[in-house]
Symmetry: C2
Subunit: 167 residues, 2 copies
Amino acid sequence: MSTPHIDVEQVELANTAYYDAIERGDFETLTSLWLTPSDVGVDEQYHDPADTGVISCVHPGWPVLTGRGEVLRSYALIMANTDYIQFFLTDVHVSVTGDTALVTCTENILSGGPAPEGAGEPGPLVGQLVVATNVFRRTSDGWKLWSHHASPVLAETDGDEGDDTPA
Amino acid sequence: MSTPHIDVEQVELANTAYYDAIERGDFETLTSLWLTPSDVGVDEQYHDPADTGVISCVHPGWPVLTGRGEVLRSYALIMANTDYIQFFLTDVHVSVTGDTALVTCTENILSGGPAPEGAGEPGPLVGQLVVATNVFRRTSDGWKLWSHHASPVLAETDGDEGDDTPA
């Protein structure tokens, strides 16, 4: 059993590693950060009625994606259509209970698509205010992502000090 | 240790109980369905660096709410401003790992606000397509909600029944 401080620190690092992998377009690292059923002791040949360790993902405005195939394909698609993406994380909150950690954070996103055909310059940069709930599971290989749910912030009461007043 | 089938069934019942409580505007039952730190053995007087059992909630288009105070106030506000709400749940998927359960579902919502002032009739009904990730924790008093994240589905390729291929 590790101490609470170390748990929180390690979960924060796993959370940052997730966003870093997307920023770098590093699909291999991203893949390694997601939980597999075998990470939690399930034989993948076995039909498991509890779907132990089965991952899910919701991108902003998207329906739910379930299982490694759907989830990882979505990131390949996003990476192929993103020339530049940067996440400025704020309001990171971690709650660790047993072997599960819940992270909520605000993703202040700056991104740009590929250059339009024939144009020499990349597409315009777009800012987005998104909030995420990321669920991590403790494994012998570190904390792995079990679920990511991100959604656009459509309205806020007022525009306090943050630069993130949505439209 | 309970069997996987029974776990899944009980988690589904807890998930349904959550939506039923909102439909009925039953704030007391709703409150009882959310996890408290003491449910997971944390003395609430103790400053816990891991924020064990601290709940969080994201309503569609909202920023993150953290802790019982913020979360429960938001439901009181929603209930006060909703005369009628009904959830038709589809695509319910449960993944149980140890003492944590992850539920994803599509909330097909039909809702109506209170009557405009002076009008005898309730406000018009509005349909909404929302997806949710609900995280439950096993306690001695049953499965309790640790996190709810709901977000609007903003784009779908076509309107086939519940098959959710994103744009």
